[in-house]
Amino acid sequence: MRVRLALAIMTGACLAPLGAGAHHSFAVYFDPSKSVTITGKVTAFRFTNPHGMIALEVSDAGGRVTEWRAETNAPVVLVRRGWTREIIKPGATITIEGWASRDGRPYIRLRRALDANGKLIGSAPFGTTDAG
């Protein structure tokens, strides 16, 4: 499994996400100026409110595996972007771009997800123009 973990600082203004689906505040939990990209093997996908959740195993360059979790918008928002309960399956390799957790835990807020062929999952990423 080819795994990539990259951190990059981006300008937050154009990518600042919504609090859509938030029982908790995005701004409190995530850093809108810090982007994270991870690729790994899905171990679970929960399609429940207040947020969906993708768990995946990510290996670093030294081969150490860390289980990351990517929080999504609320499923009520996801379904309006073409997502379904079955759209991501355990065992699949996917790449997720999102915003880093402020406290450094392996936990990100999903902006977009790509399947093993690089195809966008769903109809559009989640960002500044999201609607519920």
């Binding site: 029982h23 995005f26 701004a27 929960r46 429940t48 409110n49 207040p50 979790r69 519920g132």
Partner: protein
């Protein structure tokens, strides 16, 4: 004949009076960031600050948008920790309408002359706005996350006065309102009926030294409806397990 009369009476009850705007429909948050109309701001009481955390924007810790917190409220907010909310017992507690109204979730409006029903997607909440001239119940009546709402028309504006709100968050970052908060919303339609604008004003002398107001806009989307929310608290366990994985 009697059936026809009864049917006509029901139709008359269900239809808004001709002079009143019809807010019926599915409304979704607009990301139009235009400033509120000056005349809507002019209607607000003095000592009111416009807090800009609607829809896209949410405040980080220690940011309250100009609201002046009393010392006890400030101490409570500063002691608040984000992880405190990510527990099985708290993560699916719905916020009160004071915060819930600002988010990017849609709602439906059902309107009659006597009653307006606001059905929110966020946490499956439903709100009744009594338009029949009744007042609020006694102060010691039960409080809830939707509170008790009475409404009237002020020209083309729907004015909703809400009390009896159970303590909950204002800005979702540790600032909580008390059970004494009083909220007044004023809704108006755009001339073409496709945009709904509102000011959401509130006062809470137990918590704040000034008053707050949000300006919120929604767009009408035909043929759509709110979806079930059904919050699953086990989401909090995922967050906690990620914390353990990071150690």
């Amino acid at each position: 004949m009697r059936f026809a009369f009864a049917t006509a009476a029901l139709v008359a009850l269900a239809a808004p009076a001709a002079a009143e705007p019809d807010l019926t429909g599915f409304w979704n948050l607009s990301f139009d960031t235009s400033e509120p109309p000056a005349e809507m701001l002019a209607e607000l009481p003095p000592n009111t600050v416009l807090i800009r955390d609607t829809g896209v924007v949410e405040f980080p810790e220690d940011e309250y948008g100009g609201l002046a917190l009393k010392p006890a409220a400030l101490a409570h907010a500063q002691a608040w920790k984000p992880a405190d909310e990510m527990t099985l017992s708290r993560v699916c507690l719905p916020p009160s309408i004071v915060y819930a109204i600002q988010g990017p979730f849609p709602f439906e409006v059902y309107q009659t002359p006597q009653l307006i029903v606001l059905r929110y997607e966020y946490f499956d909440q439903t709100r009744l706005v009594f338009m029949d001239g009744r007042g609020h119940p006694p102060a010691d009546a039960p409080h809830s996350k939707m509170g008790h709402s009475i409404g009237h028309w002020d020209g083309d504006e729907l004015v909703i006065d809400t009390t009896h709100l159970a303590p909950s968050t204002i800005t979702n970052n540790g600032l909580d309102h008390s059970g004494s908060i009083h909220m007044v919303e004023r809704y108006r339609l755009s001339p073409d009926g496709r945009r709904l604008m509102a000011t959401q004003w509130f006062e809470d002398p137990e918590v704040l030294d000034n008053n707050g107001v949000r300006f919120i806009q929604w767009g009408k989307q035909d043929g759509r409806y709110v979806l079930p929310y059904e919050c699953d608290p086990s989401f909090a366990l995922e967050y906690q397990q990620a914390g353990e994985a990071g150690q």
